[in-house]
């Protein structure tokens, strides 16, 4: 069970995605805000091995693309010069955290050619690069919001379950209130009151705080149930009889009991919160331009012409599928373990 591929396969998949996204600056060939105004809504670059003269090349290459005169969003390749794809390419400088600064990217091509594996958006920005940077926002918003939500939920749930009486009643009624409120509509109203001048970092924290704090109620109810039953167990009563303090009981006996519930909840909540961030950004309540998030990248699909004409704009949505499946699998396995 412990080494079951049902557990490590999704874990490996998620781990890879998170590492790649964290190191987006290295894996992405371009900066997320770099516009190429001569290439709006260009489809993915074709990668060639065979050139216009039918000669085979071992190193893959691309051609520069120019707008097809008189044709809406039509591009044609200029086959005069080949631009080989180079690995560990010297491109735009970036910093990873505060320690490392570099200008090496996993791959790239010489200007004026551009390589866009997933096409470009309305401003000619590389969708692939934006997808990686956007993952930093979307995936980590999910992780951080879940942490916040579980912290608040666990502490309130334990208090309610362990102490009971009026505290239990108060916390649970509050939880019901939080479950009943129409949050999305409330958020729209709140956005209009907020100061206009929030930097992307502030906006990111705000989104996390909102998503995380709104969601404390469900884990709190589950944790409360566990704490309530644990409180009545014989060994807990015995410990209490021997004069154990509340803090000791909570730390030693109650909290370990809730561990399983918390992990399962985490695996369930993370994808939910990733989706919540995507939804908020899709509706324009997330982080502002030019910082990408998967939601704001998908927002361009609200326009009919993008929906019917630019299939590559669906990539951020498609990215959600493996991530959701992995988390789903993970929570299934955890659930099974909990029950066995």
């Amino acid at each position: 069970m412990r080494a079951s591929p049902r557990l490590w396969l999704p874990a490996l998949c998620l781990g890879t995605v998170h590492v790649v996204v964290l190191l987006a600056a290295f894996f992405a060939p371009y900066d997320y805000s770099e516009q190429d105004r001569s290439l709006p809504f260009a489809p993915p670059t074709r990668i060639h091995f065979v050139d216009a003269q039918d000669r085979f090349h071992f190193q893959p290459f691309v051609y520069r693309r120019v707008e097809h005169a008189g044709q809406f969003r039509g591009y044609e390749e200029v086959t005069e010069t080949r631009y080989p794809i180079r690995f560990f390419f010297h491109g735009a400088a970036y910093r990873l955290g505060s320690l490392l600064s570099s200008d090496r990217h996993l791959f790239g091509v010489e200007m004026p050619a551009r390589i866009s594996l997933m096409g470009t958006d309305a401003y000619g920005r590389d969708v692939f690069s934006r997808l990686l940077y956007g993952g930093q926002i979307s995936l980590f918003a999910g992780l951080l919001a879940t942490t916040l939500s579980l912290l608040a939920g666990t502490s309130l749930g334990i208090m309610a379950g362990f102490y009971g009486t009026w505290l239990d009643a108060a916390i649970m009624r509050l939880a019901e209130l939080f479950l009943a409120l129409p949050w999305l509509y409330l958020l729209f109203a709140i956005r209009a009151f907020l100061p206009l001048h929030i930097s992307p970092a502030q906006a990111f924290l705000l989104v996390i705080a909102v998503i995380g704090l709104v969601g404390w109620a469900r884990p709190a109810r589950l944790v409360r149930g566990v704490a309530l039953s644990a409180r009545e167990r014989a060994y807990v009563r015995a410990a209490r009889g021997f004069g154990a303090s509340d803090l000791y009981l909570l730390r030693r006996h109650i909290l370990p009991q809730t561990q399983g519930v918390i992990f399962t909840q985490a695996a369930l909540l993370i994808p939910q919160y990733v989706l919540a961030e995507v939804t908020l950004s899709f509706l324009g309540l997330g982080i502002g331009e030019p910082v990408p998030s998967w939601g704001s990248m998908l927002a361009s699909l609200q326009q009919y012409h993008v929906l019917v004409g630019c299939w590559w704009m669906f990539f951020p949505g498609l990215m959600l599928i493996p991530i959701f499946m992995s988390y789903g699998q993970l929570s299934d396995v955890l659930q099974e373990r909990l029950q066995s």
Binding site: Y123, F188, A192, L196, S199, G284, G288, E289, P290, Y304
Partner: protein
């Protein structure tokens, strides 16, 4: 000046020819049944010059939002006005094609030498859509209503010249005289879209002071009448409004057939442009009044096989711009804003921003080349008034730098622009979230200004929140907005350019002009208003455009082209840049027969 023609009276009959008389009586009875189509000889009809069409047919048009009211006196929203325009008529009309005034309910008019008195002769014998005759009393009544302060009509401001409302006097049953308190250039254009109301239906509610509540969407169709080509037939909330042919309409084609040709016009309510285009593509609607460049391009690909035509009419009268908050009255805690306003007020700063913006790229990316870069608010669509001497400088970062340096700004090692107090220059741009084009423009400005070290944040808000901040609270730093105009005449721009105007966006509610150049514009705009000669007015308005281009209170960006679509079977379709772009000649539109038969 008259475009009207008098239809010859019926022939006289000799005495004693009873049988023939009887026959004629029967015939005339029959005729009343078909009265709709033949012209009644005693009526003074307006004869149009368009192609002769066929009767019948049903036109479906989409409308972006539901009309709020059918009351011409209180309506302000675009949808209501669009529907009302089909049901009402005005005294003197601006021909949307020639952009000149033409006779409408007034068959002719004279202007006194000093430009203060307008004498109008009304058409005789014409009727409202409920069959009641129209005369000077209806005109007097209508103007009484519009000018009454209690009516709260937006037309009241329009009809107030030199601080005094226009005086109206009756000259016999078919004559009306208007008197102005001061000379007003092309005052006859004021009459356009001032709908004449039926006195017999509205006088009672006016006297009771309830005119504002009259003619709502729930009013039964038989209680609503007008002089427009169509009248109300049915309203289904949330879905559609159906208008039917007005059988008493006062226009005919040159063969003597009474207009309009269409039996019905349906306005279908759709939520947004994309839905509008989808419906059109699916064949559910016949006309798209206006669409964005992307949708135009998508439709253009399938033009041939889907039986519709697309028209690119070139530049429109709409102008999009970046405006800085220069308001003297700002919200109390806005200390931050005060400091930023010290940059915004510096004309060199605004010029630098303007120089750093890549308008050509904006036209290409946002409008796919179907737009025109702008340097003043007068777009090339306004051929008559455009000042061709205004320079069109291309984007230049160097020039922007020179200007900023001269204004005391400098840059840090990392390229960030700082002012004299070493504060980094950054500001937010507000846009309407529902308008993707303007959000795109703001995002492009953000990228353009990065090149001169200015940090910009784009904040898309709900449209009403934007309006509220710009017009009410003045709590914003900059905004990308757009304005359109209903008329090409400079008088239509008074409310934007006068420092006391309601749309003087950058500094609203100023008691007096805040700067010397605003005082100059005030003087020039007022002067052109009371100048009667076109050449002189043009010179004055040119000067306004030059002052604008130099001082940039609005940094004009791009004017989108006017793009419309129509099904191939609609005849006499002549889209124009003036509003309403497509249905302005709805009375002449018809469905081409063979294709109409093919339509299910």
């Amino acid at each position: 000046m008259t475009g009207a023609m008098h239809i010859p009276l019926c022939r006289r009959l000799g005495p004693g020819r009873h049988v023939l008389g009887m026959l004629l009586a029967v015939l005339s009875l029959l005729c009343t049944v078909f009265a709709a189509n033949a012209a009644n000889p005693s009526e003074e009809l307006f004869v149009t010059a368009g192609e002769t069409g066929h009767y019948g047919g049903h036109l479906v048009v989409s409308l972006r939002s539901e009309p709020k009211t059918l009351n011409p006196v209180t309506s302000i929203d675009v949808s209501s006005r669009e529907v009302i325009a089909q049901m009402t008529a005005d005294l003197i009309h601006i021909d949307r094609e020639s952009q000149q005034t033409v006779p409408a309910l007034a068959k002719s008019w004279k202007v006194s030498r000093d430009g203060l008195r307008y004498t109008l002769q009304l058409r005789r014998g014409i009727r409202f859509s409920d069959g009641v005759e129209f005369d000077a009393d209806d005109v007097i009544f209508s103007f009484k209503v519009y000018l009454d302060e209690k009516s709260n009509s937006p037309q009241r401001d329009l009809l107030t010249v030199g601080g005094k409302p226009i005086q109206v006097r009756k000259d016999g049953p078919y004559g009306v005289t208007f008197e102005l308190s001061q000379a007003y250039a092309s005052a006859e254009r004021l009459f356009d879209s001032v709908a004449i109301l039926p006195r017999h239906l509205l006088e009672k509610s006016f006297q009771e002071g309830k005119l504002g509540q009259a003619w709502t969407l729930s009013t039964p169709p038989e209680q609503i009448a007008g002089l427009g080509p169509f009248r109300l037939k049915q309203y289904v909330a949330g879905q559609r409004m159906v208008l039917e042919r007005n059988p008493y309409y006062w226009k005919s084609d040159h063969r003597g057939n009474r207009l309009p040709y269409l039996t019905e016009v349906t306005f279908l309510f759709v939520p947004n442009e994309d839905a509008e285009v989808l419906r059109f593509e699916a064949g559910e609607t016949d006309v798209v009044n206006r669409m964005g460049a992307e949708n135009y391009a998508v439709l253009a690909g399938e033009q041939g096989d889907h039986g519709f035509h697309l028209h690119d009419l070139g530049p429109s009268l709409e102008y999009n711009f970046l405006v800085f908050n220069l308001n003297a009255q700002t919200p109390a805690p806005a200390k931050d804003l005060r400091q930023k306003q010290s940059w915004f007020r510096d004309v060199k700063f605004r010029q630098a921003i303007s120089a750093a913006i890549d308008r050509e790229a904006m036209t290409r990316i946002v409008y796919h080349g179907m737009g025109t870069p702008l340097w003043t608010h007068v777009t090339p669509a306004n051929r008559l008034w455009l000042d061709t001497k205004v320079a069109h400088p291309a984007r230049s970062i160097e020039h922007a730098w020179d200007l900023l340096r001269a204004a005391g700004f400098s840059r840090r090692a990392d390229g960030t622009l700082i002012d004299r107090t070493s504060t980094p220059v950054e500001f937010t741009i507000l846009t309407s979230a529902s308008n993707s084009q303007r959000t795109q423009m703001a995002t492009m400005i953000q990228q353009d200004l990065k090149d001169i070290g200015v940090r910009v944040q784009v904040v898309p808000l709900e449209f009403r929140a934007v309006l509220d901040r710009v017009f009410q609270t003045h709590d914003y730093e900059a905004a990308v907005m757009g304005l359109g105009t209903g008329d090409v005449d400079p008088n239509a721009q008074m409310n934007v350019w006068l420092s006391s105007g309601d749309d003087h966006l950058w500094n609203l509610g100023a008691a007096q002009p805040a700067t010397v150049w605003e005082a100059d514009i005030d003087r020039l705009m007022k002067q052109q208003l009371s100048t009667l000669k076109f050449e002189q007015r043009k010179r004055l308005y040119d000067r306004v455009q030059e002052i604008e281009a130099e001082n940039l209170p609005l940094i004009c960006l791009v004017s989108p082209n006017l793009l419309v679509g129509v099904r191939a079977h609609v005849g006499n379709f002549k889209p124009v840049v003036l509003d309403p772009h497509t249905l302005w000649n709805s009375d002449e539109l018809f469905l081409i027969e063979d294709q109409r038969a093919a339509k299910p």
